[in-house]
Symmetry: C3
Subunit: 346 residues, 3 copies
Amino acid sequence: MEKTLAEIAQAVNGAVLGNPDQMISGAAPFDDASDKDITFVAAPKFLKTMDSCKAGAMIVPEGVSRPGANLVVVKNPLIAFTKVLELLYPFMPQKPGIHPTAVVGERFVCGRNVSIGPFTAIADGVCLGDHVEIHPHVVIERNVVIGDHVLIHPHVTILERCRIGSRVIIHAGTVIGSDGFGFAPDGERWIKIPHKGIVQIDDDVEIGANNAIDRGTLGRTWIRKGVKTDNLVHIAHNVTVGENSVFAAQAGVAGSATLGRHTTVAGQAGITGHLKLGDNVVIGPQAGVTRAVPDNTIVSGSPEMPHKTWLRAMSIIPRLPEIKKQILELAKKVNRLEQNKDKPEA
Amino acid sequence: MEKTLAEIAQAVNGAVLGNPDQMISGAAPFDDASDKDITFVAAPKFLKTMDSCKAGAMIVPEGVSRPGANLVVVKNPLIAFTKVLELLYPFMPQKPGIHPTAVVGERFVCGRNVSIGPFTAIADGVCLGDHVEIHPHVVIERNVVIGDHVLIHPHVTILERCRIGSRVIIHAGTVIGSDGFGFAPDGERWIKIPHKGIVQIDDDVEIGANNAIDRGTLGRTWIRKGVKTDNLVHIAHNVTVGENSVFAAQAGVAGSATLGRHTTVAGQAGITGHLKLGDNVVIGPQAGVTRAVPDNTIVSGSPEMPHKTWLRAMSIIPRLPEIKKQILELAKKVNRLEQNKDKPEA
Amino acid sequence: MEKTLAEIAQAVNGAVLGNPDQMISGAAPFDDASDKDITFVAAPKFLKTMDSCKAGAMIVPEGVSRPGANLVVVKNPLIAFTKVLELLYPFMPQKPGIHPTAVVGERFVCGRNVSIGPFTAIADGVCLGDHVEIHPHVVIERNVVIGDHVLIHPHVTILERCRIGSRVIIHAGTVIGSDGFGFAPDGERWIKIPHKGIVQIDDDVEIGANNAIDRGTLGRTWIRKGVKTDNLVHIAHNVTVGENSVFAAQAGVAGSATLGRHTTVAGQAGITGHLKLGDNVVIGPQAGVTRAVPDNTIVSGSPEMPHKTWLRAMSIIPRLPEIKKQILELAKKVNRLEQNKDKPEA
């Protein structure tokens, strides 16, 4: 969708420096942009290379100017760029209405402007808000409640009684509300503990593809407002994830752990069950967290330790063979010194 | 579903101490229970805090009494509690029968009291036992055989010729019988090795959400009786998992490994291919098992080592920088001693 | 399907030693083969045990003979065996044509000899090549383009505008083209960066079950010719995977990483974003790669190091407690030596 630079600047609340009538038809990374593209200057380091950039226009932070270039000056170039992406490549909604192949149960409560794709299976007692878009092959089980402006991608399963807030996005293949992994030992056998709780997902959450989020044994597994998860993430029964936390791909949290606000869990990291983590905690990639973590702490390693300690310790691991050799040599020298000691002096 | 304490005690083979007519309408964790809830005392440590518990009734182990409280005395409170959960929150089966949208192939053998949900695709030659409940959007490929009292959640795929026992539960999004990851090198290219074996899942197995269990190259991948897996678990071609083994989330086993009875694989752990593990082996979280493990062994770390060794070794990792410094200081001291040695005595 | 040894030899371009009329009805591993089975000798070590093998025939490398046995002599026994598997257990295609339950959008371009299974949902503007086989419950979104001889297993999702080459296999439950995990921080909140790029999968690629491959933010995520992935693999936005690379199960690559030709990523390994890896790189199991890796390098560990260094370092980890003790003892000895030094000589 082609726009003038003036139209783009207006959409992002920015000011044009240069030609407001410049036509822009695409967006591109800084190094790949052509003269029909707009790009953005994310960090001061890019300012040095602005002259080599071939973009038709650039979104820049306040205070930047460049005679002869077409600039849009804004407070936060990355956030402005996300709005420009939506402007140039608008989201293409599904056709509104319920596709004739969809199966909808009894006591269905359906908001305004809802779109339900082919082969969607909605069980009894489901309640959808306004502007909900459900893509093909979604399964929504009994008595699920979903808010407004929710987008659910194909092959998502939402199991009975789970509650989804507003402005939530759930990517393809994800399972919300599977039974938690709870068994009572009976000799060597395992007796299933029935899982009768739910998953509650609050507003503005985005869940990646092929996630699995288990329901509480009793009570809820709770994904609070603004949480974002990447692909293949596992969240166990009765976990609470604090507001605006993020999980990179293949991370996992075991049962009944409580994460604070604005936690960052890097890829393939794991968190042991029943732990309590503070606010603004950062967990490094592949870390294994086994103890409570206080607010504003960065931990790495498995088992975890303060990130700076980990960096120093990891720099030594490849040198362990050399260190072992040093110790052997030291031991020899000390032995020699001890033996000499016992000898009469020359 | 409301019950009297007497009804509950009867269901779990327990004895009431207190008021058998007490009405119970819910179950709750020890700390959250209200006066209409029943809870349970899992461990002796909770006995001390029984006075602060607000539950309407408690399931307690034999030998416990508390004047004025309503107790159900049983041998194993946790197992009794699982039964109470089923009593108070009974499983709600799907409507029996084959949903009109389901597609069923030729030579279909269907047991009694089977329920098949919307959009289920059952290929030719499939055989289902009695009391099988298949949720919406399940795909069952050619010549699959499934036993009695099996529950299959939405979006599960069971590929051709796989065999599922009785009392098996498979959670949403799981794939049973995908091709194993086997390729023959031909220069830099990889030639696919056709996978013609099956997956065999024995009785009383529960498979978590979004698992992937590959078929054997030839022969079978074999999940033996009573095995339980959590979410996002990977089991490769020709693996055998011994009876009553459990896999926590995001664990994986490479091709042709053999696990003994009652193995415990913790979260995000991995097991190398072609290994043989003994019975009652415990594998720690994020462990990487690269060698055979004898019976009754706990291993941790990547590569794995005895768990106690690992605990001691891991306690040293954060202190490596300090240890390195100690060695440097020792070396200096030894050098000084050596130099003094060579000097004539004062 | 029963074949004579002569027929088998012809199919694999091999020479029969022994009885060309020997009937073969199955294939089996070396140790399990019966007198109706053919097996293969993968490595010279098996030649010693050929006499104990009960197979009706063996595929052997050039130069091997064994009087009285039925042999098929070929250059590469494993590759010949893959062909024999296809001969004895031929792939059973779905019925050709579009299943009446499938939903197909407008402007559908469909090649010759295409098979589309039940409940497949194909959106507008999709283009399929010849001999494409789509199993039940596949979702193909707007304007996806798929080449010839492609096999797509159940419950796969291919999202809008993604491009799939020829001779590609995608296993069940996999998601191609989910949004990348990109968010702009706005205080503690995260603003979604729209993902407008695609996934491009080139010819001869095989993707395992329950993978998630994200689309580019802009531009493409690019899986080049001949790549193979195992189950539960994550590939993030704007990653490029070089030709003939392989990913074992549960491995993951973060955004904008570039992998060279013929990379081997072992199970549960992770690769940090924005890295550039050379050709013929091997990444060990559970490794965490945090820096660029040059061509022809094997790395292991988290963070990664040269594989040989890692092997030596890891052999020391279990001995750290002992090493710490040695250092303490050395320190004591050195202290004693220093104290003795200061004493007047006896």
